[in-house]
């Protein structure tokens, strides 16, 4: 079994993760300190007498050395205390928990698009190397790496909403459908299905289609490109020649023999693209007025709401680390060589 070596590696692995998380905290702490806004003034206002100012400064722990402040900061963050948001007047963590399902919904659907379209496309590109399917993969990839995602979103709105009317406009739901289903998971598609509100579900699908397709396009570009190169590598292996010599059908060679070997690195790629979609989500959510983490972050930015900005940054960073970790673990589990 794989458990013993995996267990032996675990302490080093965990230490690495802990160090990275500590590093994330150090970066956000540093950014928080660079801000030219005096946090004391933000609390007391610039009319406050000197003793009040000093008292608040002591209360906030700002009279301590930087090291002590950092330790306090780490303790607070570890306890889940991200501070209050200036805009919503609620704890930042609570805000993030509320908006995150929307982003999750978008990123998951986009990844689904990426896998369902990207993998077959990449396989086709490798099988028909340098023929037209391969050229399509190449063009899709190049465009994906060169296209501003926010612009693609706007054009999508213009064409599919404005001109064709195939999809619903910005936002997650039409105004009439707001608050019609009780929040269970926060993912409207699931909540509506649980409540049995099919009209709401239809409306929500109409809203989510375009943003997830736009975001998914970038996932397709990346996944197709990587699938193609993994497949090409495998198709040149000797076992493929052996299988062909034995008379195994080409379809079986591609979909059973090679794809199984490609699956392992592909899991990593898919996990990474999922993490990268979080980034793309910031711009997509702005275009589509999608009330997720990305839009929360940008709204907070424009309002100079630093607690919210740093909290959201930290959450995204932690998710990034988490997904990387997960893909690493999956790789070890799936790849028999690492046992």
């Amino acid at each position: 079994m794989s458990a013993p070596p995996a267990l032996r590696q675990a302490p080093g692995f965990l230490l690495q993760v802990a160090l990275t998380l500590l590093g994330l905290l150090a970066v956000t702490f540093f950014i928080g300190r660079v801000v030219p806004i005096d946090p004391v003034l933000a609390v007391v206002g610039d009319q406050a007498p000197k003793d009040v100012y000093e008292a608040v400064k002591r209360e906030l722990g700002l009279d301590q050395t930087l090291w002590v402040q950092f330790v306090i900061y780490v303790q607070k963050m570890a306890a889940g205390d991200f501070g209050q948001s200036l805009v919503t007047n609620r704890p930042v963590l609570q805000d993030i928990a509320r908006v995150f399902p929307a982003t999750l919904e978008l990123a998951t659907l986009a990844t689904l698009v990426g896998v369902l379209v990207g993998v077959p496309m990449g396989v086709a590109g490798a099988v028909w190397q340098n023929r037209w399917p391969d050229q399509i993969v190449r063009v899709v990839g190049l465009v994906g790496y060169s296209m501003p995602i926010f612009w693609l979103g706007i054009i999508g709105l213009l064409v599919f909403y404005g001109m064709l009317g195939w999809v619903n406009g910005p936002g997650r739901l039409g105004v009439f459908f707001e608050d019609m289903v009780p929040v269970v998971t926060g993912v409207i598609l699931i909540d509506a299905a649980i409540a049995g509100e099919w009209e709401v579900l239809r409306n929500a699908v109409g809203h989510v289609m375009l943003p997830s397709a736009v975001l998914g396009y970038f996932s397709v570009a990346y996944i197709a490109r990587m699938t193609r190169s993994f497949m090409l590598e495998q198709l040149n292996q000797e076992y493929v020649i052996t299988a062909r010599a034995k008379g195994v059908s080409e379809a079986r060679i591609i979909w059973v023999h090679t794809l199984r070997n490609v699956a392992v690195p592909l899991v990593t790629v898919i996990a990474l693209s999922y993490a990268r979609l979080l980034e793309g989500a910031v711009l997509t959510e702005t275009v589509f007025a999608w009330p997720g983490l990305g839009r929360y972050l940008t709204t907070a930015l424009l309002a100079a709401d630093m607690n919210a900005v740093l909290g959201a940054t930290l959450v995204v960073g932690a998710i990034f680390v988490g997904i990387n970790l997960l893909s690493d673990l999956l790789y070890r589990l799936l790849d028999p060589r690492s046992k």
Binding site: G23, I31, L142, P148, I154, R225, T286, L310, G317, V321
Partner: protein
Amino acid sequence: MSSWRATLLSDAPGSRREAKLGQIYRGWLQFRRNRLALLGLVIVVALMLVAAFAPWIATHGPYDQNLSQRLLPPGAKGHWLGTDEFGRDIFSRLVYGARVTLYIVVLVALIVAPIGLIIGTASGYIGGWIDAALMRITDIFLAFPSLILALAFVAALGPGIENAVIAIALTSWPPYARIARAETLTIRHSDYISVARIQGAGTGRILFRHVMPLCVSSLTVRVTLDMAGIILTAAGLGFLGLGAQPPMAEWGAMVSAGRRYILDQWWVATIPGIAIFVVSLAFNLLGDGLRDVLDPRQKR
């Protein structure tokens, strides 16, 4: 075959300079065969020319408002790409926007490549705990999606084009450090490095004179390929209102401003977006071509 060409392609170059020039010429011959890369080069050169001669190419000033001529469609008299919500000529703003784009890209590259080069080579050559510490720091920066980290930096520094450049630079150096380190690790045990050390060269001298020059070609490829990403990030920041501030003619900000009119006056947002796309596509094509010539190992 003309004589200079014969000299360039000769197998027995007469001098060091001839050998060097010959190498470049051969690289160019190989590069020239890649039509798409050549197209990319043409577009990038065109971008530079447009930026350099903006005042002569633009038909209007980038800030000239004329409210009686606002939101004119492309092909309108005197404004062949139309006008925006203040009646400013979109074509002229695009032309001046080329300057902003180039400014950002060049500055970021100038900041990032040397930082990555120094950190990466030092890390790889010195090794030990310095290597471990530096690589850990790179990992931390790589753990953030770069746009998100850039957003946080901009939030701290305040919006503006200089701060956008700093933020992008702060978030994009780690891959360069990684590449330079990997390159250094393969050459640090070469004989010529040992010779230099035995001759009494110090660490600094070995790094600057003997290690860094060999990392330059793979870094050049990476910089060119990254240009597209830098352009997109900068445009994204501009789009979010955190990069170049109005009324500056920055393409991302122009898309953002035109977004409000998208359903009725599509051109205001569409045209600057096409400019961003074309330029980053050009950098991608150019980078792919350069990679095949300078760094065939990385071929995808």
